[in-house]
């Protein structure tokens, strides 16, 4: 829009304290993505130029500049031919404070770098409005006006007045912006909650699975060892007859159960270590913040949330297998110890 609107609003509407004309222009490239047999073009923004009028009146009295300068200095009244880059810009251009950066073919000196305070100003570099107009070939034009009212209760009145005077303009009040942000925030929160719930559910499922596995393992050891004891009744009877004590027979069977579990544990850990990355991709929920089902997003999440096999888990698994082996063999070993030496005499 034409910059003349600025004077119009500044002068003809009562309750206006100041008006900040802003020119915003983005520079970027197009990327073509093929997905599901179709081709999409999406715009990738490299950086956004935001031109703001660097007058001492605005700078001193109104929040027009970034409040989070991490290196160098902020823009000052009367600055020209200089830019305040975001950290992202700095990395994109490969320049730092004091360097000269070429923007749309024109050189600017980097005076400072601002840390991003929101996702929206991640790519924004600030410069004098007139510089921005010149470099983007938009002299006399602006993209938006920020209107400050004298008191906060005048906001509705001023916004109505602007809308009446210039019906072609979209007027957004700070309150509405806040509501919009709130809504966005709550959308994010909902997505996050659902993701957390999803992860929580996976954890619960995993816990249930662990309990089932532990119970099953103990039972398998129990039954296998009971079977072994039954099969070897005669052998155990012989051992008792030739002078083995109850405790040494019990000890032997406990040891056997534990040894079997140690071997099983080692094999299990080996398989687990090899299979963990594949399994994690299969088991982890497809967390998608934007509610869009997409294979691409899901696989991205899975690749960042790999199930890692660390020493602690390995030791825990090993300890658990040995403990379960001992637990499962306890009763069979006791049964073995109770076998009478007379079993050795049985003729089958």
């Amino acid at each position: 829009m034409n910059q003349t609107l600025y004077n119009d609003i500044n002068n003809s509407i009562s309750g206006v304290a100041a008006v900040e004309p802003i020119l915003q222009a983005s520079e970027g490239s197009n990327e073509t993505v093929s997905m599901f047999g179709r081709t999409f073009t999406r715009q990738l923004t490299s950086y956004t130029i935001e031109g703001i009028p660097l007058t001492s009146d605005l700078i001193d009295n109104y929040p027009v500049l970034s409040t989070n300068v991490t290196a160098g200095r902020n823009l000052e009244a009367g600055d020209s031919g200089v830019v305040l880059l975001s950290e992202n810009n700095s990395a994109y251009f490969g320049v730092g404070v004091g360097d000269t950066v070429s923007i749309l073919g024109q050189g600017f000196t980097v005076v400072g770098i601002h840390g991003t305070s929101s996702a929206s100003d991640r790519l924004v570099l600030y410069m004098n409005l007139s510089d921005a107009q010149a470099v983007t070939n938009n002299t006399g034009y602006i993209t938006s006006l920020r209107v400050f009212t004298q008191t906060s209760d005048l906001v509705t009145q001023v916004s109505t007045a602007i809308s009446t005077l210039h019906p072609e303009l979209t007027v957004t009040t700070g309150q509405e912006r806040l509501t919009q942000l709130d809504s966005l925030q709550s959308t994010y929160n909902t997505a996050l909650e659902s993701a957390q719930a999803s992860i929580g559910q996976t954890q619960t499922t995993a816990l249930e699975e662990i309990i089932v596995v532990v119970a099953a393992t103990s039972l398998i050891v129990l039954f296998v060892m009971l079977y072994t004891v039954r099969e070897r009744t005669k052998e155990i009877g012989t051992l008792k007859a030739i002078g083995f004590s109850n405790s040494s027979v019990m000890g032997q069977f406990l040891l056997e159960g534990v040894l079997l579990s140690v071997i099983a544990g080692a094999v299990g850990i080996a398989i687990g270590t090899l299979a963990a990355p594949t399994l994690s991709a299969l088991l982890l929920p497809s967390v998608n913040l934007f509610g869009v089902t997409g294979v691409r997003v899901a696989s991205n999440v899975a690749s960042t949330a790999v199930v890692s096999v660390n020493l602690e888990i390995v030791l825990l698994a090993f300890g658990a297998s040995v403990a379960l082996g001992a637990l499962g063999s306890l009763y069979p070993a006791w049964r073995a110890a109770k076998i009478r030496p007379a079993e050795a005499m049985k003729y089958e």
């Binding site: 005669k234 052998e235 012989t238 051992l239 008792k240 007859a241 030739i242 002078g243 083995f244 004590s245 109850n246 040494s248 009478r340 030496p341 007379a342 050795a344 005499m345 003729y347 089958e348």
Partner: protein, 269 residues
């Protein structure tokens, strides 16, 4: 006179069979002296197995006294009895009962475990015993690579491992063909002669029993008959057939030309 290794006085053993009390042994008396080769015979249900179990410290007597090498085992708790089984007797089973995953030498070493002997001592003793039963050079063989007769030899070597007061053999020839049966009986007889090993053999095989020195017939829980066997004659260097003097190593009597090991039905039932 040699000292008794087994003294049984007024031994009774009753079982509860359902609600009925069955008397398996009735006031039985038996003494076996060191160096004797005794056979206990009897038909099924005679109390043979019960007597074997009582002597083997597997069953406890209902009443009466059982002295093993002078120790009263009748009232002994199980946590003591295993030591008696380990130190005072050597079991020989009908089915040999060697551990299949251990070789001959390891099987013989088994009873020595928990006796505080070093592994080297155990090995040495096991090898000596295997040589004694005629199996030197076969120490490393597992039971499945040995014949039935050889397996029973290993079992006899195992029974001797802890130098017991007596060998308690339960039908040691029951699973053997006639040739191996003769071999095992000969081996036991030779051990008795050369090492002075006391052997108590429970069997229903009259042929085998015939070659011991003293045969006891058990019937209805009592010893009803006792008779001298061929081995006694051989021990006394007399031919069992004609009574003339023989050498211990003789297979055939020099005077009557009859084999010293011959079959003869002793107990006509």
């Amino acid at each position: 006179m040699s000292k008794p290794v087994l003294q049984i006085e007024n031994l009774s053993k009753n079982y509860m069979l359902g609600k009925r009390e069955v008397s398996a042994l009735k006031n039985l008396n038996l003494t076996v002296n060191a160096g004797e080769f005794v056979a206990i015979m009897g038909p099924s249900g005679s109390g043979k197995t019960t007597l074997l179990n009582v002597i083997g410290c597997i069953d406890k007597p209902t009443s009466g006294q059982v002295l093993l090498d002078g120790i009263d085992v009748g009232k002994m708790p199980e946590n003591q009895l295993y030591k008696i089984r380990r130190d005072k007797m050597g079991f020989v089973f009908q089915t040999f009962n060697l551990l299949p995953y251990l070789n001959a030498r390891e099987n013989v070493e088994l009873p020595m475990e928990g006796k505080g002997k070093s592994k080297a001592e155990q090995r040495k003793r096991a090898s000596e015993l295997l040589a004694m039963v005629g199996l030197s050079g076969r120490e490393g063989h597992r039971p499945q690579r040995l014949s039935a007769g050889e397996q029973q030899r290993v079992a006899i070597a195992r029974a001797l491992a802890n130098n017991p007061a007596f060998i308690l053999a339960d039908e040691p020839t029951g699973n053997l063909d006639s040739q191996n049966k003769a071999e095992i009986i000969k081996l036991l007889a030779n051990l008795n002669l050369s090492q002075g090993t006391t052997i108590i053999m429970v069997t229903h095989d009259s042929q085998a029993a015939n070659h011991t020195e003293r045969m006891l017939l058990l019937k209805d829980g009592k010893i009803v008959k006792e008779k001298a066997g061929l081995h006694l004659a051989k021990k006394n260097n007399k031919c069992p057939n004609c009574g003339s003097s023989v050498q211990r190593t003789d297979e055939v009597c020099p005077s009557c030309k009859k084999p010293i090991f011959q079959t003869e039905e002793l107990f006509s039932t």
